[in-house]
Each structure stands twice: as structure tokens, then as C-alpha cells.
Assembly symmetry: D4
Homo-oligomer: 254 residues x 8
């Protein structure tokens, strides 16, 4: 404690970073950021941009970089991105901002991405499932896992799936994103012996549109499957990361 | 007309049968029976037993046999069956009553089943889909179509489907019954070039149970598929019969 | 195989077309296009534009023209159409683009539309059902079927339906699009002996709006009827095509 | 007031009947009975038996007979009926109990049914709609209206409806009960110029079963129609009675 | 018939008006207009603008004026209104267009509004219910009924309702529009002996918003009430008109 | 602590009671009972009988009496009651078991009910709401509050409510239970200045039955109201108790 | 009365204010304003801006200031605010308009805010819950209560809640706003003995989004909790105010 | 192959077992049993008893024992159990049948349970969640995993959870079953860094009852969590087993 306070006094540690170390979370202008979540839960708190103003998102991102070295933002619009970039220009000019679809990864200059010796397979049924899969991929890569991305293998043409069977069987855990009737995770889970996490996607229209048919189909799947909410790429990626880490850390332990 | 009335006078035609011929429908003690539906729609009026008393079902069945030669009853309980049998013992002692699950086919002694040179494939995903498929089968067979029944080929083990691919490709039209996530019609329709009619089955439990997940999945199917209501084996069989007859009659016409 | 590769070497066949012939599908910049679906399923893969960027739709359309001679796009906005046209100007300058509502048919210069000796009746209840019926019509015409379009015969004025009874009875299969309470397919199916495919339309408002009342009404229909999802004109047209082709090919076989 | 109390003192009026006259409602062992509703609203309070014990129903029925001359009970089971009969044997031995399906009309010995010079048409689509129509009929007849009951004219066979067109056009107001897709009120309302009240019936099964498809279809009807809740025969009959009485009393006024 | 054709030949009657007289409906560029509905159903076909292009609405309005003397348009946006006005400038320059909220009444120069000796009460719970009530009012006034409009008497302050009790009891039929919990029709129907038609309004937010709470509350009402769909002011006004006319015509008959 | 253990050693305190004192909860054969909830939350843990076997309920009730002096059981069937009585005969022969509908209050011989100087008004709309109101009443009385019960004042006859206005205005907090359209809490809350807690009751049938219409109506109420789940009499009673105690303890504090 | 009229005659009282005093409500150009609600219900009528035009809101706000000294507007957009400000510039130039998020408090120059010796705790789970909590806060402060606002203590990091336990236990009543799964009110209510009012917030996405998961979770809470509709900050604040006032007035009474 | 057939010829292998080895599945009197699922998917096909007759379940169980050494039956009623026992008495008299709630594990005499060096934590919120957790436990134990069962730690008393934190943090993967508002998996997942699988349980009543509130709450969880369908203990146990095996086999590999 004394050490910490001296570091603050010496200007080696910002007050926010010290608060985060002491209390776990830090209270900034846009609310509390849970700086200890990564350590406690194994997955950092992501800043979900929907419903927050650009200024709020930028402030939280700066708090995250300050206290955990990097920030993860999901569902960001262009306005959110601009605000984050201009804020970080002021507070952390050396940070790099990389964007994948609506997901944003901001890394402070001294942040080092961990390495994780496990592979997550991320599969999509069609082109429209891409952004949801991207969100999952950003989380897995942030955790250092290897990602094997297999796109566009929907069940309307079974050959496209069967052709990828070897890759599907080699990964440690699978995230499978599919909209419409969402049958792909069921078909894949019937063919592999790895854990499969289904992500319903809000494509589709009419009855059961907005991902509801896909969600209920995955929940009713006649195979073994666990599921996350519609479009919840971040959650699926987070769960896959936890499994991948459990696999990898056991390996390391030996 | 004169002829008809004379036949009634001579006792060669019952008043009910004459009424049916003149008016299309006949009004009995349990309501009107649409004796002309078979001729007009190509599918006879089935007596849907749920919500009717055993006496009502028996009376309607007797009206049907009297005016169209046979009766088709669906969703019959044991009480309905008993009532029908005891009624027909009195009114049409020569009629034969055959039961398939909860479906009943009563044929008058002089009734001749038509013949239809086309084949309907009826497919189930699992054991619990059997009774719904039975209902479809009774309608198709009543119309004289050949039925190729393929049971228990759910997608959790794709081999079971792929092993039947030749049979699936040979029929003129397919009825595919599946509960839970209802993915089977989608997978099959991706592999064959015949019309596929999906029948969601009210198995399953929890969210999307009672056939709702299967129904919405079939409606959202990324292949071409038409659908009937949950457990509506009779409707699926009827639609398959209409298609089979269109195919067959064209063949005959040539 | 050798032949194919030589054609590629000679520039007579594009690599994409060769890939499609060998593998069934082709992998382009916007995902995989299932070039074999037409052959396997009898209905080509349509490019569903909703949720795809104009560039993605254009790339897939070019892939489709390249490998199957023509492309079918549904739910296209003006932006999608512009992107498709400008892309094809570059890649297939001789292709013709024809638009019907939000449906697009792109035909390469050497594409020959097949001919199919069967007639599909396409019926609407009111003016607002037009675009959905258009989508069905494009698919049927792409397959070479004759389309008999009967518009605006909603049940609020029964005479409008009854006046068309002769035409309704002459076609090989009927697609009936209706919104609000969706009673038209039920009324028509009670009067004809052809297969009827109901298409609920998302007109209407309040409780049961968005086509849900029409959908549930068609599923509950007291006649024999099969159904597709709300606004799913493409699927209805596809199913009608499969039936029409079964009828026609039997005729041809004789 | 004085008069009333003297009648009570003399035993010419029961305390309950006096309480009802003074206060509008009477408080008995099973709750308050709204004795003034008939006068105020034009329709008596019916005792809805579901969820009440046989004893509660019997007590309320006795209160109703005591204060308004007769009692109307709906959704009565056999247990309810037995309890009512045995209670009335003790309290009002001269009362007559008549039952129509699950509806019960108890008339005190001195009760005189009013007369109403208007006709309510009550129409059913099929046999299963009977009990709901019965409930409506009991209310109309209790009010003295003439009821023209037309059964079993579902739209699957349009002739059955068209054959009754003259009767349908002659009544003052129509109650039309239909389950499944509930199209009958729409079809009838397109043909007549009287007010039509649709009653969805909870027949049907699968998606939209329990009367929900019929309800949403009637609410979405492309004609002019008002609706009551699923199986709400009593409410439909009450509303028809109010309209019939408005028509009749205007006639009488002249 | 001969007479009619001669009138057409002489230019006294347009071909469209003749077609409407002969066939009931007229087929114009935007679909069929049911010119006989007013005569047959007692309520003219209204042109529901939502989902139709301005040109379609304008064409149908012109057809309506041509064949029935006037046109009724509901849910019109500014674009629809402009298109109607500019079209009628060309085809019926003498017609007058009057607008009430989103409802439009176009009257040809020779059109004479009928007169109807009955009064419809139209009641709203709050300011936001106004436009829905307006829609009902336009229909009633088009039919010649007197309208007594009572605004803003929601149940949160019972006095506002009770203060209007005399007016509420004097009309022949009541239309009561209410959003949120929709209790007003129930409270009013408990106090008057006229028929009450409840109109749920899509105000409200959160669970049960969009009028669903009001709709289900009115359907569950513990009083006698019939209901139309959410925001269906036109239907409520139409039903009230039919009742008012039944009352009035009986009066006239005497 | 030492004291406690000595009391156990001396047999003055049962091990279960000691465990509860030390740890807050006690682990018995049927699960953990939260003995500290009353102290911590102000409302004891009630034993919700649905879904538990009679033996489980009896064991938990004995644990509750042992550690908190009394037990509160809700939704008990006859089997549950018998099991509780026979169990307590063995373990706490001096305890008294009192039953109100499906609610059970078991009091150990030395238990003294607290006294609370505040009044809770508990109001029902009709006879069927009684059992739900009973559940609320048991909780309030267990806490020592005075309960003023006002039954059967549904809005179909406003006089019944208005007649009770004085009583309604005198209590400290109101629990109002109503089924069907659930308008009573809204009407009452418009007339009094005390907090009103609405309890939707699962009476009603058809659309919005099972209390859903009442729930959504109360949530949409145009007055100030808070709500508990359908039939949740215990929760409403608990919340009213907390409010009553806040009111009373403030009074006491002075 | 005479006094009142003389004040009007003298210009000391506006006609509107006099009307409000005599009748309780005042009828202005945009509808009736319930000026007596504050007195009768303890909470003033708030002007809910959604669905009203800026002019309507401004007129009602002016009526409110005129008759009750101040106006409370919720869900105001910028257009509403501008209209209110410009209207009041004309009618009440001395009034002050203060805005908190989308809530508006307009106070006339002579208005004196009451004082209330009780504290309401207002708690949010995350940043997006802020505007809903603001709405509650405005009502409580308008009533003179002290508000203790505790932000951003969601359950994903339990420490954030537990750190605030002392503050949570000190207030008289708690309003807890939470979106997503809405677990925060349950967790807090398990730890304190004050009444807790849960406010579900329409953050979240996919299945159960729009606050529905939070609402159903709070209704199902295994602790004692009452609930208001999704985003109904005004209602929660109103209910908290009523409880706070009950507590405070009891204190004062002593 | 030859070897296999000789084993059949010698009676060392039953025809069914041989069929299973050759084809993966075996076709018995009650349908096809997927004997290869365990090998292919890592989880054996369980026989879901609901909707199957006792005879069908018994036949499938015998097929399973015959081909895979043991059978897993879920949702068995007493009738199912009796049928299984009496069937196995005939076909596999040495097999042992063990029952845990409604789950059944039948082991042939020569079956050896595998061993798996990983631990699955199975947690329940309350007594009613027991049977669902049992189903998960049977699957995990069948796979040889160690199960640490932690019962009755619902969030209404946070101490019960916090007291078990060490055990919760030591297992390799967690299955957390909770009904009502289903907050427990969220709270636990916020405290540990292992993968958590939430199982909603169909306890609860009223709105969101039947597990729907718990399901939507878990899907909306603000932490990282994957979910299975309501009451799907088997699926949760299966998914936990796949994760446990991935962890263990990695360890073994080293």
C-alpha cells in the first residue's frame, strides 16, 4: 500500500491506476470501470457502446487503458470511434486503435498481449454472420488464443460443411454463428467431439426473425450445445476463451 | 334430379346420400358434413375428433360413409373409436374400421380405394414423430398414392440421412416431420430437387417447446420449403396428395 | 477434370467457373456462392440483399453470373442495384439487368432461360401484396414457367374471387399472397383442387400486424394448405416451381 | 325508504332484496352481487363459475334470484350445477333451473322474462363452436330477444354460407363464432349490412391454437367487425343484446 | 343494362362508373376498388394509405370519387395528400378535399352526404388518443350520423368521467379510445346501457406498450364490451355507424 | 460464541438453532433455510411449497420453527399440510398450525408475534381474488400489522369502490388484488394518496388470461402504482409490511 | 365560491386557476389538465411528452404552471423543450425551466418547493440506466425529499455493491434501476430491510432485450420487491415519494 | 469385417452389436439408436422418455446396452422404469439399473465406466432445482468426471454463495441451475474464472414462469456465460463433460 502511494506521489502511477489496484474498480466521469474483471473473471470488461454517448464511451476507454493497459469496445458507431480516437490522442497519444467491424481494440503503448496455446474455431453460416463472428474473434485474440476462422458453410449446401470437417475437428472449442433457422451448430455438433457454442444471429425476417428462430432452434438442438444470446459475439468469444484457457493452462501445468 | 328422387323412393339411395348429391353437404345430428369436398378440393373432409363428443364423431362418421363411401377421422381417442365402431355396427355393419395411431379409416363395404401412380416419401426425425407421420400416411393411402416411409433419420447423426439419399431422391414429393429444432426438412431440402413439406412436431420442452422452435426454424429455412402447422400431419398428407395427383394426372393425360 | 483445366488454361473457362464445376460452390470476396444449388435443388441460390453491403451483393451477383449464367437478387435497395449494375459493367458488360420491385434478375449474354410447360397462378388479395407476389413471379419465370397473375381479389368482396374461379381452376399450382387476416388462401383452397401455397404479407397493424395474424390464420386453415414465412415470396415461388417442374417433367416423360 | 323497511318488517321483502334496492348491490357469504347491473348496464351480472367453489356459485346464484328474480351462471361444471340445485331446493324451491351446455339459467317462480322485438343471428362455423354460441344464446334469450341460430357454415365450403345469405341479411345483429383461422365473420361481414360481432373459439392446435389465430384474424379483418375475447360467448351475447335493445326501443319509441 | 350503355355512349356516365354499376367493383391502374361495398356492407371501402405509394392512393381515390361520389382515405401522409390533391385537380377539379389528422374525405361536386338520425359518442382518455378518434369521427360523419365528441376523460381522475355521465348516457352508441392500461371503456361500460366499442390506442411504452395492454385489458373487461384492433379508429367508427343506422332505420320504419 | 456452544452442550439450544445463529442459515435434510432473512430483510423466508415434496416442505418448516420460532408456508396442498402437521407432531408437539387458504402459519409454543402500529389495506376486486389476498394477509399479520380487508369492489360497479373511499384513505399502504383487466388498482390509486401495490390475479381466460392482461394493465397504469408478479400475494404482503414498518418505526422513533 | 369569483373579477386569479380550484381539472387547448392530482394523489400529473406535439406539451405545461405553480414534463425532446420555453416566455416570463436528461421541471416565480424529511436512495447498475434514474430523481426532488444517488454498482462486480452497503441501509426507500438481466434489485433487496422498487431498463439486446428480461426477472425475484414498468422512472420516483411522505408525515405527526 | 461376421456367426457378437459397429447406428423395433454418438460426439445418445411409450423406451434401452454397454434414460416416469427393468430382466439379466430422480443409468455386466481427471461443479439455487442438477450429474459421472455438488446457495442470501467461493473456484467447469429470476449463474460467473454454464429451471409462476425469466436473464447476463434450454440438465452436463474432457485430455497428452 505504502509502495503504491509512493508511486503515485512520484508520478509513476496515475491516481486512477492506483485506485484500480486498491479497490478493483475505478470511478471516472462516465461511471465505474471494473478494472479487476480480467483478473477475477478471466475476461476484461468490454465497453458496450450502444446506449452510451460517444463521450461516455471515450471516457471509459481511457479509464480502461489507464488501469488495464488496453480497452475493448463493442457495438461502436463511427461517432463512438471518433470520440475514442480524439480522447486518446489527448490522454494516451501512443495507444493504437484497431477496428474490426463494430469492435474496437485500443492498446496502450506498453501493453503486451498474452499468449495462449489453444485454438478457437469460429464458424459462420453466411456472409451476414460476419460482424457477430468478428466480435468473438476480437475477444479470443485479445486473450492470445489462436483463431481458426471458417466462413460461409451454411447447411443449405452440406458439402461446404463436410469439406471443412478436418479443421472443425482439430480446434479446442468451436463458436458457430448462424441466423435464419440456425441449424449449423446442431449439424456441426453432431460431427465433432469438442464443445460447441452456438451464436444465433439476428438475420432472417418474418416469424422467428431477429434471431429468435435461430435461438430457439439452438436451445432445442437434439445434440449437446450451449448457447449465448442473439448476436452476442462477445459473450461467445469470452466463453470460448475461458474454455481455451482451461485447456491451455492444464497443458501448461503439466 | 327426377332420377335421384326415384332412387330415394325406391330405397336405392338414402335421403342423406341424395341430399349430399343435390346440395354438396348433408346436415346430420352433429352438424353439416361436406360430402362434396373430396370432389371439389381433391381431399375428403376429415373429422377432427378433438373437441367433439364421441357421439358427434360417430354421427359424422356415419354421415361420411353414407354419402362418400368412407370416413377419415383424426385425433381420435379410445372413446371416439368405440363410439364410431358401435355406431357403424348399427348403421353400416359391413364397414371395416382400420386404425393407425389416432387416425381412423372407415370404409363402407362397396367403397373402392382409387389408385394414383405417384409416390409420397414420408420421413421422420425420431420415434416421437411417428404418430404425426401416420396421420399424413393415412391421407395419402386413402388417395391411392404409394407411400415410402423412412423413419428416424434425425440430423444429430447425419449418416442416417445420407444413407437414405437415393430413396429420398426417387419419390415425387416429400413430407418431413421433425420436432425439437426441426432442422431435418432443411437438410433434406438442400439435397433433393423434389418439393418438401415440413411438419413441425410438438416434441421438445422449455423455450421453443411444443413445436414452436421447429415451426419457426422451418419458416426461416435457408432452403426452399413449405410448411404446415405443428402436428398437422393430415394437412401435410393432403398437400402431398394434391401434388402427387397433379403429377400423376399429367402423366395419365399424356 | 483434365478437360476442365485445359479450358481454364485456354481462357475458355474462368477459374471461378471451373471451381464451381469441380466443387459445387465458389469462394469469392463476399463469401461462398452455391453454384450447384440450381442443379441439386432445382432452384438457384438467390442473393438475399438485406444485411449485406452493396459491394457484397454486387460481388456475389458477379460470381453467380460467372458460374451459373445469371443472378437472382431479392430485397435489393437502390444502393444495391447501383452497385450491381456498376460491377457488372466492369465484369460482364453484356449482361442485362431487369428489376421487378425489389427483385433483380441479371442474365449473362449467353444465358438461355429454360422452358417449362406448366402454369403457376399467382394471386394477391390487395395492392400492398404486389411486391411479395413479384418476388414469387421472378423465380417462376426464371425457371421458365408460365405465370398467370390475378391481382386484388380480397375476400371483403367475395365476387372478385368468384369471378376468377375459372382461371384459378386451370393453373397447375397456386401461390396466394394476403396480409391482414390472410383469409384468401383458405377461401380459394376451398374452391379448387390444385395445391395452394399461402404467403402471409406483413401489411396490417396493431395486434397480429407484421403478417403474424395472416401466418397463424393460414397455419390454422380449415382447408388443406401449405405456407411459407411472412413476405417469403421467393420461397413460395421456389416451391411452386418445384411442383410445376414435377408436373411438367412427368408430362414430358410420357 | 320507509315503505321498503316496512315491507321488510312485514316479511314481504327479504333483507337482501331490500339491501339491493337501497344500495344496488348485496353482500352475501360469497361476496357482493351487483343487483343493479341489469338496470344500469342493461345486462345482468352473470356468475362466472370458473375459479369459484360450488358453494360460492350456489350462494351467489341464490343472492341473484333473491334480488333480481333470476340468476345466470356461465362455465358451470357438474359440481357447480349440483350445488346450485341443492341450494335452491332449500332457498327457492319453486325456482326452475335450465341448463344449456355449461350455461345455467335459474328463474324464480315469479320472474317474467321481458320481451324484445328484435332478432339476433347466432352463427357457428363448426360443431365445436356450439358451446360458445350457446352461451351467447342464453343471454339474448334472457333479454327476450328472438334468436336465429345458424350452425356449421364454415368457409371451407362457401356454399354452406351462401345458402344462408337471406337469413343472415334479415336479422338485426349477428354474433359469429369461429375457431381455427376464424375467417367466417370476415366473409359474412363482407356480405351483409348489419353489425357483426366476431367470437374467436379456442379450437385449433399448434401455432395460433387456443383461439389466438382466430382472434388476431378477426382484429385484422379487412371488413368492419368488432370482436370479443376468445370463447367469450357471454360478452358477445350481451353486446348483441344491447344493440338489439337499442334497435327495438327506438322502434317502440315511435 | 341497355340504358347504362347508352348513358356511357352519350358521355353521361364514365366507363368506370358503368363498370362499377354492372360488376360492383372497378379495376383501375392501382388495383380493384370495391364500389359496391357501401351499398352491400353499409360502409364504403376506405383507402388505407400505409404501404401504398402516393400514386396508388391517388388513383384509387379518383376511382372512388368516379364511382361512389366520394373517397375516404386513412393513414395518409403529406405525400399521399399532395398526390391525391394533384390527381383530383386533373380528374375532378370540383371535388373538395377535407383532412382531419391523417384521414381524408374527398367529395365530388355532386355528392350529397346522407343524413342519419342517430348520435355516436366518441370519447378519448387523453390527448394522444385524438388522431384515432378522428378516424372514427370521419366515418360516422360521412354516414350522416351526429357525433358527440368527449375528450380527455381518463380514469386517473374519475371526476372527469363522472362529470360527463349525462352526455355518455344520451348517445345511441359509444366509441371509447384509450391507450396505456385502457381502463376507460370498462369504467364507462359499467355506467351506461348503450353498446360500447373499445379502441385500444398504441400509446404507452415498455411491457404492454403499443396498445397491447389496452387491447388485452378491453378483451378481459369484466363488463360487456366489444373491441376493435389497436388504433383501428376506422373500424370502430364503421361498426358504430352500422349500429347507429340500425337504430335510425328502425325509427324511420315506424 | 463460547456462550452459544455451552448452551448447546447444556441442551438449552439445539445444534440447528446454534448453526442458524452463527451462520445465518441452517442446512437441513431438504436444503438450506435462511434463518437470518427476517432479521436482515425484515420478512422471513417463506417456504414456497409448489415443486417441493411434502417431506421437503415439512423438513423445512421444522427447521424454520426450530431456528426462528415459526414457519410460513405458501401454496400448500393438502398433502403438504398433512406432512407438516405429522412432522411437527414429532418435533414440536406444542406448535400450533393455522391455515388460511393455501397459506400456513406454524407457531412454536414460545413464539411471540411482534406488534406493529400501522394498518395495511388489502382489497380484492372479486371472489376469485380471495386466496391471493389471503397470502398477503398472512404475511402482514405475521409481522404484527393491522389488516383492513375490503372485498369484492370491482370496477364494473363503481359504487362498490366509492362506498369504501373513507376506509381506503385511512390505511397506511394498500395491496389491491384484481384479475381480468386489472383496472381496480388504477382506479383506487387515482383516489388516494397512500402507496398502492397492485397484484394481478390469474383469473380470466382467452387472450391476456392467466393474469397477463392484469399485469400489463397495472404496469401501464396512468397513475402511480408499483406491481408484483401474477398471484404473488406473499410478495405484495411483504412489501406492504416493509412500508408499514418504515412508517411505524419512524413513529416509534419520535 | 363567491370569494373565488371575486378574485377572478379583480384579476387576482386567472379563470383557469379558478376553474381548477372549483372543478379539480382545467380544460385548455391541448386537453384537460388534472390540477387536483397532486392534492388528491400526492404526486402531480406529469406531462408525458411522447406522442404529443410540441405545442400540446407547451400548452399543458402552461396550464400546469397556471394552476399548480409548476409543471413536470417527462420524455421531452429538444423540440418539446423549445416549445415549452418559448410558450412560457409569453405566459409566465418569470418561470424557471430546469432540465435533467429528458425530464423538465418548470417552476413559476412564486412556487415554493415543499420540504420532506425522508431520504430516497436511487441506484443504477450501469451508465445506461442514468436517464431513467434521473426521471425518478426529478419527482422525488419536486416533492422535497432528499435523494441519495448511487451509480454504477452492477452485480458483475459484487464488490461495487457491497462497498455501498452502509448507504443502502440508511435510506428510507430504494429505487433500483437495472437493465440486461436486472439482477441488482434482487441482490440489494436481499441485503437491506427497506422497501425496494425495481425499475427495469430497456438496455440489452436480442432475446429479452428492451427491458423484458429485466422486468420478468424482477417479477420472479426470490426476494421481496415491487416493480414498475420498463423505463418508468417517473412511476418509481412517484411511488418512492409516496412511501417517503408516509414515513415523514408519521414522524411529523408525533 | 470378416472378423466381425465370424464373431456374429460364433454367437460372440449379437447381430445388433455388429450392425452398430458397421453402420454406426442400429435399427430396432422402436427406431434407430445412434450407437456411434459416444465415439463421434463424446456424449452417448440419451433416451429422452417424454413422448415415448414405456415399450419404446425399454426397447431402445436394450438396444443401447447391447451396442454400447450401457443406457442413459432421462425424464423417465415410473411406468418407463418398470418397462425398462422388466425388459432387461429378459434381455440382459446381469445389467444393473440405477435411478437418480427421473434419470436412469443402466449398465451391462461387462461395462466399465471410464475415468476422467477433471472436476465439474454442479450448483443449485434451491431445493426445486435438484432434479435438473441430478440429470447433469448422471451424464458427468457416466463420463467418469468427478462431480462437486453444491446445493441451495440462492442469491436472496448472498452469504450462502460467498461461503462456497473456494469450492466454486477450484473446479474445472461449473453447471449452475436456477429458477425464478435465475440470477445465480450471473453472480457466480462474476466471481470465478472458470467457464459457467447456466441452466434455467422451470420453477417460478406468473409472468416469466416456466423458466422463461431465468432463461432470458441468463442470456442477458452482464457477465460471460453460456446457457442451455430450460430444465436441460442433460445438455448442460454433456457440455460440461466435453469441456472437462478437453481439459483432462490435454493434461493427459502432456
Amino acid at each position: 500500500m505504502r509502495e503504491l502511494l509512493e508511486a503515485v506521489a512520484d508520478g509513476d502511477l496515475s491516481p486512477a491506476a492506483a485506485e484500480a489496484k486498491l479497490q478493483g474498480y475505478v470511478t471516472g466521469e462516465a461511471g465505474r470501470f471494473d478494472a479487476a474483471r480480467d483478473r477475477r473473471r478471466g475476461i476484461p470488461e468490454a465497453i458496450f457502446a450502444t446506449g452510451k454517448t460517444p463521450d461516455q464511451v471515450a471516457a471509459l476507454a481511457a479509464d480502461a487503458v489507464e488501469t488495464t493497459g488496453r480497452a475493448l469496445v463493442t457495438r461502436a458507431t463511427d461517432d463512438h470511434v471518433t470520440a475514442v480516437e480524439s480522447r486518446l490522442d489527448r490522454t494516451h497519444p501512443d495507444a493504437t486503435v484497431s477496428r474490426r467491424g463494430s469492435s474496437l481494440l485500443v492498446e496502450g503503448s506498453s501493453y503486451e498481449c498474452p499468449s495462449l496455446s489453444a485454438t478457437v474455431g469460429i464458424v459462420t453460416a453466411g456472409t451476414v454472420d460476419g460482424p457477430v463472428a468478428d466480435e468473438a474473434q476480437v475477444v479470443c485474440e485479445d486473450a492470445g488464443a489462436t483463431v481458426d476462422r471458417i466462413d460461409d458453410v451454411g447447411v443449405a449446401a452440406l458439402d461446404r460443411v463436410l469439406d471443412q470437417l478436418d479443421r472443425l475437428r482439430e480446434v479446442d472449442v468451436l463458436v458457430v454463428a448462424a441466423g435464419r433457422e440456425g441449424a449449423l451448430p446442431t449439424v456441426i455438433a453432431g460431427l465433432v467431439d469438442t464443445p460447441v457454442i452456438g451464436v444465433p444471429v439476428s438475420s432472417g425476417y418474418g416469424h422467428g426473425g431477429d434471431g429468435e428462430a435461430a435461438l430457439s432452434g439452438m436451445l432445442q438442438s437434439c445434440t449437446v450445445l450451449s448457447v449465448v444470446n442473439v448476436d452476442a459475439g462477445f459473450v461467445a468469444g469470452g466463453q470460448a476463451t475461458l474454455i481455451a484457457r482451461a485447456v491451455a493452462s492444464t497443458a501448461d501445468r503439466e
